[in-house]
């Protein structure tokens, strides 16, 4: 596993996850925000884009990188959900 491969793959997915989180329509509604959020089509494209770095790790045969990417995305996604819900609480 090249450390570089897994860090770059996870970083790219993390950035897109961040965008996905900020544009999540249900999250925005629950937090009382005015922005409608992304459309279904946009979210599908972003989700596909998140999976791309992982797919590349898998296709290069780097099982270790793939597993770390998958786990990393899970941890980062959950952390983003928690972090951006704290903001909503403070606004309330």
């Amino acid at each position: 596993m090249t450390m570089l491969l897994v860090l770059v793959a996870t970083a790219i997915s993390a950035l897109i996850l961040h965008a996905l989180c900020l544009g999540d329509p249900k999250r925005n509604r629950a937090a009382g925000m005015r922005e409608a959020g992304q459309t279904k089509r946009q979210r599908q494209v972003l989700t596909a884009a998140i999976c791309l770095p992982g797919l590349i790790c898998a296709l290069t045969g780097d099982a270790a990188a793939f597993l770390i990417w998958l786990g990393g995305c899970g941890v980062i996604g959950w952390s983003l959900a928690i972090w951006f819900s704290r903001g909503a609480q403070e606004r309330d």
């Binding site: 596993m1 249900k26 270790a64 998958l70 941890v75 996604g77 959950w78 959900a81």
Partner: protein
């Protein structure tokens, strides 16, 4: 996401809820200790103050092994297991395989624990089950791992119990997936100012969704490990090898070839170890010698996986000539899909295939899964608020286990640090755990409210956690300067982590409100 019919959904909700509540507390204990056990090796180094970085396999061991063989009865030369113990010292188990009167296959022999200089510090006689217990300097990491693997219940019942707990987790993960209609739509939504049921539900389902693939992998690999020896091997041995477990063992792990019992001097083990390190670029984690002192002696060295792989690397040597033969698959005698599948179960469960990075990810996912289990239990209770009076005991029990378990574990760590220099760590580490558990249970019965109980336990845990650092220094553990100089920055890193985590927990507990928000009189129906 998956749209089941109404009554199917209702059944899955019942399966999910009841599988969770019946064994949920045990599941939480297994997952929590598993999460901590990811760093068992590092915790062992930190707690015992190990500063040696060179492996025992990088230092001369050939002389020691020959001396031990000379003083060991020849009947125990059938197998020699070599591994590291303590601060990179050598452990050697000379043994043979026997069948006990009750039919179980055991390894019986002599387990030598060597010190830095290669002299015998201790020699224990008996079966593998009997001799491989915790030692003074690894009592804390042993305690953690043993709690996780079998909840300290004797074999085979402990393994069967954790195996069943693993299956329950598998059922909960799959049923959770089936009942959650809007998995991706809800994935970032954590409502904070809604009813307690919705708040708990969001917490539970968001954490559960993000950790779902790993919940599945860990439940499945975990139950495999628990059932493998207790049920799997006897049944498959019966069906495919006429009940001969030794034959199954030899077939799967052994080396084929014609037996040649003529005596022959063993080749130089240092040469073998050096060659193995050169070929793989990694120090062995384990070395076994079959038929020590015979012409057909074989030496197998096990190494961490190559970069990018998760399956460990195994090298085979001719023992008498100290000559490299070939790389072999971890399981079986030739590479195969089945062998690879079995061999990747361990790295997928332990997360130790890529050093600290993979361990850190597995630890974080373990934390997420603890959170899912705990919030699931709280959600189950929140939905039944109407019956709360009769379920108050369960609400308190969940809080006692949820926050009492980490409290008891940090107390056992503190006891370890005090007792290890005195040589009584194997007694005081579990004893302190039991005493702290007793305190938590007492708190559970006397606390004015569940929220106050939670706050008090979090506060106490944070205090003890942060206190571990000065305690380690006071009890004679290496300081940061010495640790880093010796090439063990992990000691300083864990000190820092415990200090920060402890202070954060104390601060957070102090800031929590003493009373819960008022809740509705009737439970909110499931969505």
């Amino acid at each position: 996401m998956i749209h089941l019919k109404k009554d199917e959904t209702k059944l899955m909700v019942a399966v999910h809820g009841w599988s969770g509540i019946v064994l949920g507390l045990l599941l939480y204990a297994v997952i929590f200790t598993g999460m901590a056990a990811v760093f068992a090796e590092e915790i062992g180094i930190w707690s015992a103050g190990h500063v040696e970085t060179r492996s025992a396999f990088e230092r001369p061991m050939d002389g020691s092994i020959r001396r031990l063989a000379a003083q060991t009865p020849a009947k125990y030369h059938e197998g020699v297991d070599l591994f590291e113990i303590g601060d990179h010292n050598l452990g050697a188990f000379f043994h043979r395989h026997e069948t006990d009167p009750d039919g179980t296959l055991v390894s019986r022999g002599i387990y030598y624990q060597l010190d830095r200089k290669g002299d015998v510090a201790k020699a224990l006689h008996g079966t593998g089950e009997e001799v491989f217990g915790p030692r003074n300097d690894d009592a804390l990491s042993s305690f953690l791992v043993d709690t996780h693997v079998r909840l300290h219940v004797p074999n085979p019942w402990g393994l069967l119990l954790t195996g069943i707990v693993g299956l329950v987790m598998l059922v909960a993960a799959i049923s959770g997936l089936l009942i959650h209609r809007h998995l991706f739509k809800d994935i970032f939504t954590l409502r904070r100012s809604a009813s307690p049921v919705l708040v708990d539900r969001d917490r539970h389902s968001v954490a559960g969704t993000w950790s779902l693939p790993f919940a599945f992998i860990l439940a499945f690999t975990g139950s495999f490990f628990s059932f493998f020896g207790t049920i799997g091997v006897p049944i498959v041995a019966m069906a495919a090898f006429g009940g001969d477990v030794q034959a199954l063992n030899d077939a799967v792990f052994g080396n084929p070839g014609r037996p040649d019992p003529r005596p022959a001097t063993m080749g130089n083990m240092d040469r073998i170890a050096a060659d193995a390190i050169r070929r793989t670029g990694e120090v062995p984690t384990f070395i076994t010698i079959e038929n020590f002192g015979r012409a057909d002696a074989k030496v197998t060295s096990f190494h961490p996986p190559k970069a990018g792989d998760i399956e460990p690397v195994t090298l085979l040597y001719d023992g008498a000539q100290a000559k490299f033969l070939h790389t072999k698959p971890s399981i079986g005698t030739q590479p195969s899909a089945g062998g690879t599948l079995a061999a990747i179960m361990a790295p997928m469960h332990f997360g130790n295939f890529a050093g600290m990075l993979s361990k850190a990810v597995w630890f974080a996912l373990g934390f997420a899964m603890c959170y899912v289990t705990f919030t699931g239990l709280r959600l189950w209770l929140a939905r039944r608020r109407e019956d709360m009076r009769s379920l108050e005991w369960l609400d308190r029990t969940v809080m006692v286990v949820g926050f009492g378990l980490p409290f008891a574990l940090v107390c056992s760590a503190a006891a370890f640090l005090i007792a290890m220099p005195l040589g009584s760590a194997t007694y005081w580490t579990p004893a302190a755990f039991l005493i702290a558990s007793g305190v938590a249970i007492l708190g559970g019965t006397t606390a004015p409210s569940v929220a106050a109980l939670g706050r008090a336990l979090q506060f106490a845990t944070g205090l003890v956690l942060a206190g571990l650092v000065p305690l380690r220094w006071i009890s004679g553990g290496p300081g940061w300067g010495r640790a880093i100089e010796a090439g063990q920055p992990i000691i300083a890193a864990l000190d820092l982590a415990f200090l920060l985590a402890g202070i954060w927990m104390v601060w957070r507990a102090a800031a929590l409100p003493a009373r819960r928000l008022p809740f509705p009189a009737r439970p909110v129906p499931a969505e």
